[in-house]
Amino acid sequence: MKKSKDKSLIRVFMVVMLFVFILLFVYSSLNLKNIDYGYKMHELILREKELKEEVDKLKAQKASLLNLKRVEEIVKKRLNYQYPRSDQFIKVFENK
């Protein structure tokens, strides 16, 4: 009688322990996942920041390349273009 009572107690104890273990396992794995997401989030934030900085640098570079003084120099020196003389520009209006 006493032995069977002990056995059932042990079984209850085992079930409780198993439940506690599963609970702990789920809790810790969720926590670990959370931390993992934290790492990923930070990586993405850093990447976003880097990309934004890259965009700004490219914007600045583009604007520097489009510097009108530079463009004029290229057009004049490399392409040998010249401004039209005053008598070379004629605006002709079409008849309506």
Binding site: M41, H42, E53, A60, A63, L66, L68, I90
Partner: protein, 568 residues
């Protein structure tokens, strides 16, 4: 049943005691750590894995009216020395100094700070990319890596270099606006810093982020300036100032309809990224802060006032006393003597005596009221710092002959921005409109500025026809372009130096076109040109050259019914 003897029982008892002491010790330690020393250990843990960082806001970008970048901030690195050992720091500094460009003053300063045993020493702020790469390589080769460090900082870039420098202004080393639009909209464009708390692991990797204060990025600013217009205005201005070896020059190009500034140039130019090496004289934006006596360009204000008040009318004849007119104990001269001139011819030929006579007929009260309504003696309110008020004496301080001298632009000091606004009153159909350079903030277009009608349509029409004649047959002939009506007025004024008018001049020209339906109002000032000095010879040709380019660039041409061909 197992029998336990006394010896074994004693052993078990001792073991129990030892075990109990061990357990009690652990419990004691746990309670001590968890309860009594809780705050001490929690702060230790926090200091090891919690970090709070300040987040620097990015300064907003400045664009022109076409969306081209005029100023932008990009992230760079700044290098510093953590001076723990003087000898070691000096050794590292010598190694670094060969790899980066530093001025002699900066080198001296760094050495001085190392010798004074300062713990934190800036080596160079806002390094170039290639400089950072070189220094990073040096840091990796160092035995004590912590001596040399880097921090992230923003650096202001002006990709168009000197273009629109005076309008843009510049920023200091901490990205604070120092002058120009950078200064006047600093609170908008600067943004607000934030704070972030992060949790880091044993390897120093961040795994949790909490914003204590969200950073607010600076707003982007859109200016009314057009880079292309600004470019050729600056080019032509430089050519004129250099040709006449003038002290300085300024050109303002304005949209006649809404008074928005398309170009604002002041020569000598400067590079906004080298603002700390630029003298105060060069930094001064002549367009808003150069005070001068306007001379004959001011006659358009006088004529407008006389017509508006009904004291003069077209074709009215005035005696011009053959070039010499005595008033009280002063004498007024004309460059070319005239016997009699009509009201229009006085403006067209720019007769000082004729203007004085109109002024005397008008009377000081009426003239003063007009000057106030044109906004002289007060700031225009343009969004640029260091704007001068100009000098307009109160009516009480006017002498009996003040009105005569004020009629041809003396005894008053104005700025080029005030003059362009005055010319634009006629161009815009009689409205006084506040000049504006700020078009929008963060893609939100700012509302149109308020217009105040100060001249009637008839006055405006008469004034326009007089100003067209100034360019066609009068003193402004060198601004004439075949096929397009330009309304303008020349000005040549002596400069007041040490209380006396000396033989150095300010040449100016103001005008608008196409005269019948104005799109552009422009004002030019050339300070102390050498050789030629008349406004019609110095400023008018510059007006013509800029106008030619504007006509093509903005595709401004009059209606077909008048002409079928324009030669520019």
């Amino acid at each position: 049943m197992i029998k336990i003897n006394k010896k074994e029982r004693n052993r078990a008892f001792i073991l129990f005691i030892v075990f109990s002491i061990w357990v009690l010790f652990i419990v004691y330690k746990l309670v001590k750590i968890q309860v009594f020393d809780y705050t001490k250990y929690i702060s230790k843990v926090k200091s090891q894995c919690n970090r709070i960082f300040s987040l620097h806001p990015k300064r907003g970008t400045i664009y022109d009216c076409n969306g081209d970048v005029l100023a932008i901030s990009i992230k760079t690195k700044s290098a510093f020395l953590s001076n723990k050992d003087k000898k070691e720091s000096m050794k590292i500094y010598r190694l670094l100094s060969k790899k980066i460009s530093l001025t002699n003053g900066e080198r001296k300063n760094i050495k001085k700070r190392i010798n004074k045993d300062r713990k934190f020493i800036w080596i160079k702020r806002k390094l170039e990319d290639r400089e950072y790469k070189k220094l990073k390589k040096i840091k990796n080769d160092l035995s004590s890596k912590s001596t040399l460090g880097f921090v992230d900082e923003y650096k202001r870039i002006y990709p168009q270099k000197t273009l629109a420098a005076h309008a843009l202004g510049g920023v200091g080393v901490d990205e604070q606006g120092l002058c120009g639009i950078e200064y006047s909209v600093d609170s908008l464009i600067r943004g607000k810093g934030g704070k972030v708390k992060v949790l880091i692991d044993a390897r120093g990797k961040i795994f949790e982020i909490e914003y204590l204060k969200q950073p607010v990025a600076g707003k982007d600013i859109f200016l009314s300036i057009d880079s292309s217009v600004q470019f050729f205005v600056e080019k032509e201005l430089k050519r004129t100032v250099e040709k006449f070896r003038a002290k300085r020059g300024s050109v303002i190009v304005m949209n006649s309809r809404d008074s928005s500034i398309l170009a604002m140039a002041s020569y000598p130019f400067y590079d906004p990224s080298r603002i700390k090496y630029t003298s105060q004289r060069v930094l001064k934006n002549a367009a808003v802060s150069f005070l001068y006596d306007p001379g004959s360009t001011f006659k358009i204000v006088l004529a407008s006032s006389a017509l508006e008040n009904g004291v003069c009318y077209p074709q009215q004849v005035f005696n011009c006393y053959n070039g010499i007119f005595h008033i009280k104990n002063r004498t007024i001269y004309d460059v070319h003597p005239y016997d009699k001139l009509t009201f229009e011819k006085i403006i067209i030929n720019s007769s000082n005596i004729g203007a004085a006579r109109i002024g005397l007929r008008l009377g000081k009260e009426k003239y003063y009221r007009t000057l106030k309504s044109f906004g002289f003696g007060s700031k225009t309110g343009i969004n640029l710092p260091a704007e001068e008020y100009g000098i307009l004496n109160s009516l009480k301080r006017w002498s009996n002959i003040s009105v005569a001298f004020l009629s041809f632009g003396y005894e008053i000091a104005v700025t080029p921005i005030q003059m362009v606004r005055a010319f634009n009153v006629i161009a815009s159909g009689g409205y006084l409109i506040k000049p504006n350079i700020l078009k929008g903030v963060d893609r939100i277009v700012l509302p149109e500025v308020r217009k105040v009608k100060i001249l009637s349509s008839s006055t405006r029409h008469i004034m326009t026809s007089i100003m067209i004649e100034v360019v066609n047959t009068g003193t402004g002939k060198q601004a004439k372009i075949e096929g397009i009506d330009i309304a303008g007025k020349t000005g040549t004024a002596k400069k007041l130096k040490n209380g006396r008018y000396e033989d150095c001049y300010v040449s100016s020209f103001g005008g608008f076109f196409p005269a019948q339906d104005p799109r552009i109002t422009m004002f030019i000032v050339i300070d102390e040109p050498k050789g030629k000095y008349y406004g019609g010879e110095v400023a008018a040709p510059l007006f013509k050259r800029i106008t030619k380019r504007l006509l093509i660039y903005l595709n401004i041409f009059p209606e077909l019914d008048k002409r079928n061909e324009i030669r520019i």
